[in-house]
Symmetry: C2
């Protein structure tokens, strides 16, 4: 299946706000706020020294032996709001793996389309004058890097780099598992003050064509455009978004309780929603991202890797876990995950059990989604 | 000044046990037990595929533009006793900085002569068929890498590598301070299971000639030989050791109390000694190494960076902080630190205040030492 959307060939200034909205929704409550990256990208596109638009290339149009790397930012979303990036960290990580591997990168791919890492790769592409692959490794957001399809489907962890705003470079070579790279890079990111730029791994165009979630940059942008048009028209923006993504609207109500705790650098917790007449409730557990939705009969409605997207009930603006507060009026979309996330090997890494829940994946009906 | 000792031109099988004894004493209670490294080095020297002896080169005989790197092991001593090295970690770190920097290393220098890192560089030298510089960066042991004279006296943190037994390589480039490298490499070492092999930084022969503590491999070996000869003769081994090193014998007594706590990966604590007739006491504070000695009138007798060396009262065998136990009969030597450790810039990094004590450095009388 595929989404019936325009396949973009470039990202221009006009796409930035819609992309931010779409990426925020696909971030399923996490992934970091795209706002700072969007402002940075706007500055770059308006600067004469950089291109006016970012070239997008379909994963299927990549040369088979092209060298592709995922580039972006790593760290707790709550930190990057306060500790703004200097701006060249992610770019320096790209240059670091190029220097250490001796290979030139031909195209950049977002590791996750959800949240801030929708924008970060585009900024690097502007600075390096490289195209961006229209796709990503998650189709949403996840908290750890081994949850990328690139690693799930066996990319070697050949080269990786993390850098900070001081120019410090830490390069990882021949790491024996993606989870180990996650542990190493996370520890360094903490020492770097909680936010680092990253680049990894080096992949071939053929591999990316097979294992990237395709056309998610176009999808996120179109999602934002659809919602924006609905806001300016007569269609309900939430319905417009749901019709594009597929899936179902799980709940409408207000936030009546939020539990949070920070554990091992993750924002853990749960949010309880109630219908306005108090007749029913929905509880959603999160670990950076929304993972599990249960009704007040204790029935599990939706589980990771399917997407649980909270949006403002009127504008369809994405609601992040760190912005949850009592009284918010929200609606909850349940969107089937991309098929590459639902295979047995994927569920081993990103199924409910891998997040510590004693639950099996309970797939949503896929009949109306493009994934 | 200089020590009146034979300048060795090589380390042979016969030197290994004496070197272990001498390095243990210079370890001032920390630095890790040299025993495992000694057995590994013995195996290498007995193996036909490796040299029969390790060539030693005086720092003053290095070519000015030679490339020298410090290579060894990083991690908590208590861990490396249980988690034995595979054997090629330190060597792989050397190869990693060579590969990433594009420079060939001409000679290896121990980062610290005290403890296990007396042996580790010799093992790498055997595997790489390289000479070892007769000197080191501490003249003793210290817990953190910025405490090396190389960094105190301004070596750039150009390249560094840590590796583990699985072949994972983490390389650090252009790190803005040695303390930052310590933080990065320590975090990775923890993720690597508590012990890593390291190599850093790349230095010129001219720099090493100026800032290494000279001839400490010879000194540690001669210290062990002197003590061994005394054990087989009529001289008191502790007196023999003290006469070689200089300084003073601070105390003789038994261990009557030990306090330990592990904090931030360091073995912190204190040991109280009492004379056998109970007439006086000595308390020594340690953070991996013995740092401060005070008598029971509260008077500070010796402070870091001067060496506080506990040895068995009869054999002069070194007593490590992690082996302290009630009833041990020990003697305490206070040995003046090498002059390179007592300058204002050095005391900023390794004086009592940098270990959190509200004390100034109180130097021992230097008149009888070769340092």
């Amino acid at each position: 299946m595929t989404f019936d959307i325009p396949r973009l060939t470039e990202i221009t200034l006009d796409d930035l706000e819609p992309l931010g909205t779409g990426a925020g929704i696909l971030g399923t409550g996490g992934g970091g706020n795209p706002r700072i990256g969007r402002l940075r990208l706007q500055t770059l596109l308006e600067d004469d020294r950089y291109p006016d638009a970012i070239e997008l290339i379909s994963p299927h149009d990549l040369s088979h032996d092209a060298t592709v790397a995922s580039v972006g930012g790593m760290g707790a979303p709550t930190i990057s709001v306060e500790k703004l990036p200097k701006g060249d960290e992610d770019y320096n990580s790209l240059r670091a793996i190029e220097a250490f591997s001796g290979e030139d990168v031909d195209a950049i791919i977002p590791g996750e389309i959800g949240g801030a890492n929708s924008m970060a790769p585009l900024c690097v592409a502007a600075m390096a004058d490289l195209p961006v692959v229209d796709g990503d490794g998650m189709g949403r957001a996840f908290p750890e890097l081994q949850m990328d399809t690139f690693f799930i489907y066996g990319s070697p962890v050949n080269y990786a780099a993390t850098t900070d705003e001081r120019g410090n470079q830490v390069v990882y070579k021949d790491i024996d598992s993606a989870k180990r790279l996650e542990d190493f890079a996370r520890a360094i990111t903490v020492e770097m003050g909680g936010r680092s730029g990253y680049a990894f791994p080096l992949m071939t165009g053929a591999f990316v064509a097979e294992y990237a979630i395709p056309h998610t940059v176009s999808l996120a942008t179109e999602l934002g455009h659809v919602i924006e048009r609905a806001r300016n028209g007569t269609v309900d923006p939430v319905v417009a978004g749901r019709e594009l993504l597929g899936g179902t609207e799980l709940f409408t109500g207000k936030v009546i309780d939020v539990h949070r705790r920070n554990r091992d650098g993750f924002a853990m917790g749960s949010v309880t929603l109630a219908e306005l007449d108090g007749s029913s409730k929905l509880e959603i557990e999160f670990q950076n991202e929304f993972l599990i939705a249960q009704n007040d009969a204790g029935e599990t409605l939706t589980t990771v890797p399917d997407l649980i997207c909270l949006v403002d009930q009127d504008t369809a603006a994405p609601v992040m876990t760190d912005a949850l507060r009592y009284g918010q009026r929200v609606r909850v979309l349940g969107v089937p995950a991309p098929e590459l996330l639902t295979t047995p090997e994927a569920l081993d890494v990103i199924g409910p059990e891998s997040f510590g829940y004693d639950l099996s994946y309970k797939p949503l009906d896929r009949s109306n989604t493009g994934w």
